[in-house]
Assembly symmetry: C2
């Protein structure tokens, strides 16, 4: 298969998928859910091959857990598809309707982005989620999953593609890339591919961003902060910080740096150090932090706060006030997710307004930044970009709009030369 030629055909088919009815797209999702159920044994058999290969290659048990696709995960996937079916159609929504002049009507109407390439980690459920989101939002999808689940991906894609086609989705609108080489070909397809969504390691996402002219949505690093303000419930703060750091250290929304108000540091830090020791977290802090909890921290300098640990390790710094916390976060953070723990309404307001991140929280764990937890049904990724979609990206982030203008022989010359004048009226 020549992937560039397939993508060119996909681009030609994209407007037809964009114009498909809600019934066709929901019908395809229903058929996919049905086919997944009917083919469960085939899927599990393919997944067993992936798991066997992973064990033989000495892949760690925590990663093998992600590769696994069992009854439980299949049911979750099907529940996700059913939730998507029940969501309102994101396409064809009129977001502006304006008369420009007598007989000249402007409409702004939501439509799909077009052709989206998603490169994702080795998780079979991700393939199901992403392809379902793309079908619901009328987007053509090029899917490239991690090689560790190649067998599962192949079977899942075949089932989903066939079920979608049977329900009237043009066959060219879904494509699976299986070879790593095909990523390079995909990166060169500007003009045909409208958006790339890479998921994976910082280095991988950065590589994609640096090597294509196609717009890229996603995030490279996730340096998230929790700021513990002077007025707060220390027990609650410790509980939140433990969750934000340890609940899933490999996640992009795990807290990497803890900022502590100087006034509360002498009472808060010893409590925190105790809890962190129990949890097995290594602490790195400034000299001032070390002075308060001697022996409990490895001393680091300011530059070390640009580090994403993704592990049982955390940086700690003491700040004067909420403004210094904001300044640190806006400078060292990755504009992903940051949280303030405080009982002071004014400081919460300042933090929520001034922190320049996609997700800004008060009195809860940074780990909540996630499409499912936001009630989006699923997400194709989390965006730290400010252009287009920000934060967890669900259906709304997968649509754009076009302007449709209906006239009756209207020409600009009449307006430029004063024979007509605009007469704006919302319709």
């Amino acid at each position: 298969m020549n992937i560039k030629e397939e993508i060119r055909k996909m681009k030609e088919a994209a407007p037809f998928l964009a114009a498909s009815s809600e019934d066709t797209r929901n019908g395809a999702l229903k058929n996919i859910a049905k086919s997944l159920k009917e083919n469960a044994d085939r899927i599990f058999a393919a997944n067993a091959k992936d798991l066997k290969a992973a064990e033989e290659n000495g892949i760690s048990p925590s990663i093998i857990g992600r590769l696994k696709f069992n009854e439980h995960k299949l049911n979750d996937c099907i529940a996700g598809i059913e939730q998507l079916i029940s969501l309102p159609d994101p396409l064809g929504k009129v977001t502006l309707a304006r008369q420009l002049d007598e007989g000249l009507q402007l409409y702004r109407i939501t439509c799909p982005i077009g052709v989206i390439g998603v490169i994702f980690e080795a998780r079979p459920d991700a393939l199901v989620q992403i392809s379902s989101l793309c079908i619901k939002s009328g987007n053509c999808a090029i899917l490239k999953g991690g090689k560790e689940t190649a067998e599962s991906n192949r079977v899942l894609f075949e089932i989903i593609h066939k079920a979608a086609e049977e329900a009237g989705i043009p066959s060219e609108c879904m494509l699976q890339a299986e070879l790593h080489d095909e990523i390079s070909a995909l990166l060169e397809c500007h003009g045909y591919v409208d958006l790339l969504i890479p998921r994976g390691s910082n280095a991988f996402v950065q590589y994609i961003m640096d090597n294509t002219k196609i717009p890229v949505m996603g995030h490279a690093d996730g340096i998230c902060h929790t700021y513990v303000d002077a007025e707060c419930d220390i027990k609650k703060a410790v509980r939140i910080v433990i969750d934000a750091k340890t609940q899933y250290t490999a996640a992009c929304n795990a807290t990497e740096t803890l900022l502590v108000n100087r006034a509360i540091a002498p009472v808060f830090l010893p409590e925190l150090a105790k809890a962190m020791k129990e949890a097995g977290v290594k602490l790195n802090g400034t000299e001032e932090v070390s002075g308060i909890i001697p022996g409990a921290v490895n001393v680091i300098g300011d530059d070390d706060f640009a580090k994403e640990y993704l592990d049982m390790e955390m940086g700690i710094k003491i700040v004067d006030d909420v403004l210094e916390a904001v300044k640190h976060i806006n400078r060292f953070g990755s504009h992903h997710t940051d949280s303030i723990i405080s009982d002071n309404e004014e400081n919460i307001k300042t933090f929520m307004q001034l922190v320049d991140s996609a997700d800004v929280y008060a009195n809860c764990s940074t780990r909540f930044a996630d499409g499912f937890r936001y009630g989006f049904g699923a997400e194709v990724g989390i965006s730290t970009g400010k252009i287009h979609a920000r934060g967890p990206v669900g259906l709304e982030g997968l649509v754009t709009y076009k302007y449709n203008l209906y006239g009756d022989g209207h020409i600009v010359g009449d307006y430029a030369e004063g024979r007509s004048s605009f007469n704006f009226k919302e319709l």
Copy 2:
């Protein structure tokens, strides 16, 4: 001045402008309008220097018309600012409010993009428009205008900056770049600059897009089409095509290619050729076109339809039907603005749905694609991108959003381990 250092300071100030009240921003716009009026003579004197230099450099009268900033243009600018003041605040709008669980509330709130660099052509009114749009939308602006209006730009920027500062806008939030070298420095400021909006020639915009990691919004070329369908009023069609081609040939929304349905070509093309000859437009067409209006066209091949003339010159091709027209437009067009002239409702619907462009029209001139004509007050540019803003970009295209989540000690572990479960409810 070290522009990178200034941009770094701007980035630090950006959250404060983002958090400024609507009153502060509208107050700044009022003060700018007042100061422009009071300093009219200074502005005109500076502009006279630019015009004198332009004449000495033998710049063509049509371009000198764009450099000129007189009483009439000043009044237009002030009217534009007054219109902006009257528009609703684009910031702080809650676009999603959802309870995730008891005591855990998610809000999605519009906010400015942050720091925007705009590089624009030599037109003093553009400087006023762009800086006003940025202030209203709470964005910091780096402005680089064409060198032919350097004197006018300097005085206008000084007046606008001072008036904004007096009204409480942080001084660091506006910056003028005057040297061409500073463009290169600006292109390297990813991490500080959130968006670049280059306006100008195809080659210039393409250069910007190819030489920065900062997201770029705008359009390089504008290959717009008008398709004349089989059923249509020939007189109306000729009038629209003449306007779309000749009303302002240098504009990106001027029609470059005319597609004609085979059924109507024998009657339509001779009428069109006559009108185009009178208007002084050179016609380039396929052999089939030449067969219908022999002697009136220069014969061209399929590849020539990727050309943007920006002049009194147009390509013509005959197509079977609306679907072939759509296919040609999606392949050769630049996804900018395309129009169908037809009395057939079904064909209009097909065209509006399947043409993959920012602006898709029926029975009117492609020249309507413009922020002012859409009632946006002004535009910072026209985007052919599908990510973020599309078509003419006004206030709405200059904002993004952030998610604010308010909790009361909520941690993810409780949900992951089944002690709590999500309880979504729209607020």
